[in-house]
Amino acid sequence: MNSLGEAFTAAWRLIAGFDAELAQVVGLSLQVSLTAVVIATLIGLPVGAMIAVERFRGRQALIVLLNALMGLPPVVVGLLVYLLLSRAGPLGSLGILFTPTAMVIAQAILITPIIAALSRQTLEDAWREYDEQLRSLGARRITAGMTLIWDTRFSLLTIVLAGFGRAVAEVGAVMIVGGNIDGVTRVMTTAIALETSKGDLPLALGLGIVLLTLVIVLNALAAVIREMALRRYG
């Protein structure tokens, strides 16, 4: 019990003192996951919008698949990206295994289905409501799609934040494709795993506290944005 208390005190000291190692790890985490969420949004949002408003063969199957992919196990994604990027793999010549780029790719693959599936649901509900009105006002498909995205922007932002939360808290994929190399590919989650197994509890706890705080702040932010939007725009 005592050692746990000591670990907490030490963790606070690291955070309060802006410990260089801790800051470096947090910084890389944010950089990797933010890049991944931007890429996932650029792909997932248009895909979600397309499935929401278009009718085509196999649409229902695609929706089921996307929903299933929301639960992709990170280690499996890590393994697949590892196989792709390893020296003998099809993209081995790029030489990006064990770099932050590989971690970005893995996380983007992990959260693109989440953003696509959730935005598909949001946009489809809105489309059902807006469809006739927009067509009556003379909106063509692309315009109507843009209007839908704009009108649901706060819900969509919440979805993007959820995707970021999933990426930044994920450990399996970045561990496998990043390799947890000190100063190069070590992020919050992989550092926690390593430091815990090494017994360096203060650093692990410090990172844990930062991570937890980040996730809570993100969710609070999402709630505040929704609330504000609802009050302002109805």
Partner: protein, 239 residues
């Protein structure tokens, strides 16, 4: 673009026949009221005319000056829905949205939008988010949004179905103003009082069929179909 001619129109959805062979010719001028009980097919008929639904068989022909492709026709008509969808932006921006789609510049659109908001009595709410307006105000905004486009024909689907008497009166005043400005009014209602107040001619629909198409006086004095007679009789005690 009038007259509007419906030729043997049918519409089937999910195995149910909703419109069963309607032929009619709707001329420019008189306010046409499509009257009938709930579920008669009034809204579907209106959506077919407006081009939101495609008929299962039969044809919709717009005669007159603008006659041409259906894409063009949409520019000359507008519709107000029973439950209008307000975009999540200001009342002014809602009216400007359709105008910009119709090719107006930003400043032209704003000028025109402010004009119609003034007419429907919403100028002081121009900057408020449309979705926080009351039901009656939203319906007036929907009328402004449709009217701003300067349509030849305005379709109104039960425009006052969810409103209180005062709001209903506001809406009916605006509809008459739009009529006076030269726009053809085609509206649905199941309310006999409203049909009497606003209609010049009645198209009575029952069970997907057009039972009568007559001037308003003759419809109420001497309905020719049993369905219309019983509809009038059944409704009168609640007038």
């Amino acid at each position: 673009m009038l007259p509007l001619e419906l030729q043997e129109l049918t519409f089937t959805a999910g195995g149910a026949q909703i419109i069963r062979g309607i032929s009619a010719r709707i001329e420019a001028g008189p306010r046409s009221v499509i009257l009938g009980p709930n579920g008669a097919g009034k809204s579907v008929l209106m959506r077919l005319c407006h081009g939101l639904l495609t008929p299962s068989s039969g044809r919709i022909v717009w005669h007159g000056a603008h006659g041409g492709k259906s894409v063009d026709m949409r520019r000359h008509q507008a519709m107000v829905f029973q439950r209008p969808v307000m975009l999540r932006r200001s009342a002014l921006a809602n009216v400007m949205y359709g105008l910009k789609l119709a090719g107006k510049s930003r400043s032209q659109a704003e000028l025109r939008a402010m004009d119609v908001l003034e007419v429907v009595g919403l100028a002081q709410h121009a900057q408020r988010p449309a979705r926080v307006l009351s039901g009656g105000e939203q319906q007036r905004l929907a009328l402004a949004r449709a009217w701003a486009l300067g349509p030849d024909v305005l379709f109104l689907d039960e425009p006052t179905a969810n409103l209180d008497p005062a709001s209903t009166q506001d809406i009916e005043h605006i509809i008459n103003a739009i009529h006076a400005s030269g726009t053809k009014i085609i509206m649905t209602t199941h309310n006999l009082g409203q049909a009497r107040r606003l209609g010049d001619e009645i198209l009575f629909i029952s069970n997907g069929r057009l039972m009568e198409h007559t001037p308003i006086d003759r419809f109420f004095k001497a309905p020719t179909s049993a369905e219309a007679a019983s509809f009038i009789k059944g409704e009168i005690p609640w007038q």
